[in-house]
């Protein structure tokens, strides 16, 4: 499978400057592309457009040549920098995890998630634990591409290594395509198959 953006431009308001201008980008299944670059160049925005959170003002997002469907489960899922914002604080972890699909218990064990945590509130878990729930939630069988926006930036290095070790394994096995947004070049070198600098995309 192949996820392509063609000539997309984006800005948040008519009078505001362009954040992305005429950007082309392609990723294939099994590829892990690292998006590096300083903040303010629209790395997150590009990720949000790929995953359907934002609509580009100009240009197209295509999955195998067809436009992404607005309704139904999106095959491009996104994991965010702050997991505590990506879960409903009024829900228990069980409800949060099972919102999209029912993950196998094996997957939870592999990720080091304890079943007893399912009865907790989000505020009773650490950032690393929450992030693992968010990752498990995004790995429904329909997921073909994964956008990871600084997903371990706020975590300690041991948790970071744990999470990436697991994600790389899953990505290999399921031939996921991954867009990895990070500011850390060392991490990019470790986990990506290709590295792109955001300021080199588009014009």
């Amino acid at each position: 499978m192949q996820l392509t953006v063609e000539g997309i431009s984006f800005r948040y308001g008519k009078r505001l400057p362009w954040i992305l201008k005429d950007v082309d980008f392609t990723i294939k299944s099994g590829q892990r592309i690292g998006l590096l670059g300083t903040s303010g160049y629209g790395k997150s925005t590009l990720g949000k457009i790929l995953a359907g959170y934002e609509k580009p003002i100009e240009g197209k997002v295509l999955l195998d040549g067809r436009a992404l469907d607005d309704k139904g489960y999106c095959p491009v899922q996104m994991i965010h920098q702050h997991p505590e914002l990506a879960v409903n604080p009024r829900w228990k972890m069980r409800q949060i995890l099972y919102e999209a699909y029912t993950p196998e218990e094996k997957l939870l064990q592999q990720m080091g998630l304890e079943l007893s945590w399912l009865n907790r509130w989000p505020r009773e878990l650490s950032g690393g634990e929450l992030q693992r729930f968010c990752i498990a939630r995004a790995l429904a069988p329909e997921t073909k591409f994964l956008v990871c926006d600084e997903i371990t930036t706020m975590l300690d290095v041991i948790t970071q290594a744990q999470i990436w070790q697991f994600l790389l394994e899953v990505a290999e096995k399921r031939q996921l395509g991954m867009v990895i947004i990070t500011h850390n070049p060392e991490l990019g070198k470790r986990v990506c198959t290709d590295v792109v600098r955001i300021d080199e995309l588009g014009t």
């Binding site: 995953a51 309704k71 489960y73 999106c74 899922q77 990506a86 409903n88 919102e99 999209a100």
Partner: protein
Amino acid sequence: MRSKRTVFENRRIQLVFWVVLALCYLLGIFFVGLGVKESAYGICFEDKFLAPSLRHPFGTDGLGRDMFFRCMKGLSTSMVIGILAAVVSSFLALVMGILSAVLGGFVDKFINWAVDLCMGLPHIVLLLLISFMMGKGMKGVTIAVALTHWPALTRLVRSEVLQIRSSLYVQTAYRMGKSPYQVAVTHMIPHVLPTYVIGLILLFPHAIMHEAAITFLGFGLPAEMPAIGVILSEAMNHIAAGKWWLALFPGLLLLTVVVLFDVIGDNLKKLWNPQSGNQ
């Protein structure tokens, strides 16, 4: 370790205790008032201007009517109006707040304009105008009070809906294939409901005060009906003559009712919000 002392220091128990106590008091007045027969506060010229005693705990007025039962009846009438007003106003607020946040654009602008307009006018003037237009009396007061208490709550509902609509977890739910209906039922309503219910409870004291105020000014309930507003305005004529009980007891009763509704609303808010409940 749960000794007697920790039970009293336990904030949650305190909160629930106050809520239950206030509810008992308010429901008590409400049902006593409903059950009072007209004969209990009938005219009796032999007993006029009696100071408070065991037989007439709140004394009697210039026509010899028992003030205790008149107050009870009046307060329960006020509460009926309060409930009607709170239900209508909060329903209006819910619908307008959600429409404003979800549709945005022109609808949002219009509703905001209406909110600003109503909040910009002195509330009492608006009440008087509507009540007068509707022919005063029970009907006029109820409509006036019901139609003027939505702006603040509308604003609150709108901001809550806006906040949750832009939240990352709602956006993620859409990306996971959830329909707007599913998102509304599972995410939005449970988020808005607590704010809404507390807003509704806090509407009561306003509605009751305003009913009493327009009745006091002569634009509300008719003079022959037992109502706190009527009682207080009559009492004004006799205060200078030393008939202190005519104003004191009805005034105090009105005040406690209003304060207790406030207590219930505030305490529920704390119970619902675990952060402040922990303190």
